[in-house]
Assembly symmetry: C3
Amino acid sequence: MNVPTDKKKISIVCFSGDFDKMVAAFTIATGAAATNREVTMFFTFWGLNALKKDKGRIAMGKSILAKAFNFLMGGLNNLPLSRLNFFGASPKLMSMMMKQHNVATLPELVEAAHALDIRIVACEMAMKILEVEKSDMIEEVQDVVGVATFLNDSENSHIIFI
Amino acid sequence: MNVPTDKKKISIVCFSGDFDKMVAAFTIATGAAATNREVTMFFTFWGLNALKKDKGRIAMGKSILAKAFNFLMGGLNNLPLSRLNFFGASPKLMSMMMKQHNVATLPELVEAAHALDIRIVACEMAMKILEVEKSDMIEEVQDVVGVATFLNDSENSHIIFI
Amino acid sequence: MNVPTDKKKISIVCFSGDFDKMVAAFTIATGAAATNREVTMFFTFWGLNALKKDKGRIAMGKSILAKAFNFLMGGLNNLPLSRLNFFGASPKLMSMMMKQHNVATLPELVEAAHALDIRIVACEMAMKILEVEKSDMIEEVQDVVGVATFLNDSENSHIIFI
């Protein structure tokens, strides 16, 4: 499983799933990987929305509650700005501002994370609560793990909660 | 005070006090304790609401401002969801979804934290600002400490801010 | 650049820029510096607002989008409370409550950070996106750095994301 290395390790708990915080998480992750750190991103709760295969609003899950929450939360295209969201207009404007200044946009950062061998895992418990299946998520998700496993794997890592 | 041990240590600053973030904090805390880490949870600001003895809305404090804030914030039963709160309906729905899937609910997690010897401390400064007394809080609160003391005790810990 | 020391190091990513979270960030930073830690505060995204020379609302930047965002976000005097903001009334009330109890207010904490030799740096990428120049920021900002540089400088630091 985890071959011990001398590399510094960083584990990022991607909890919030706001557009701006996901940009921050992926920027820190790719920056750390590019400077030779071993990086794990653990997606849980709202963060799971960034990993959904379908980037729009889908009533995923079996129970009515799960369907409702999944629909309301949506996917990568529906991540809200943590402030000044203006009903979802702001993330689009922010993406325009990022492109204008040649800053990598969120989908580009996800790709870069994959290219840089960042380990992307999803939280088992959150998936259970929100009734999201592994097959609902993008291929970049390498594993579904429990919190205890994640914490064990992160024993010598810096843990950053975003 | 702090007998040095070989155990890895994790300190969690519980600042936000959102329902979902408190679930995350207690899940990480109990997961870490169960995998043999020494865990401290430092509750400050909005996080204090999770520790109030009275789980509903009480106009705690002496000044009018403190009374107003404490009433509006409420206790463990009033923690809002960080998103899609729908005037407090969502944390109840979320609790239902957790029970449905046999995931420990927030009050169960608080109990588990206590059973696992997680150190629960409250922030002196936040209590002063919000005029919350130690006697207003649940018995599980072991100590009221200042930020400097908390940081000193956490010198060799991973610090996670939630 | 970074003379290696034996001091423990803490790096705080100041992302959120909410009034209450900035108070928390500066309280942790000054507490850590006072207990002999080497502290860096890296301001990015909403956090940049706390560093603007002009503490009110200014339509900073060249593009219309940057002007709009900068105006809406405002400066140190416009930081919202992360909850119960009441259109900006709450940070003022909260400051009153802090003064009442002799707790350092936010501007006092910024001063203390400077006096305690805390390194204050601003995120290059966020400045680019939001079209904020170094000359728009307070003198206490020592440097404008990229994420990779910040991460390299923080290799042996605890990283806290607020």
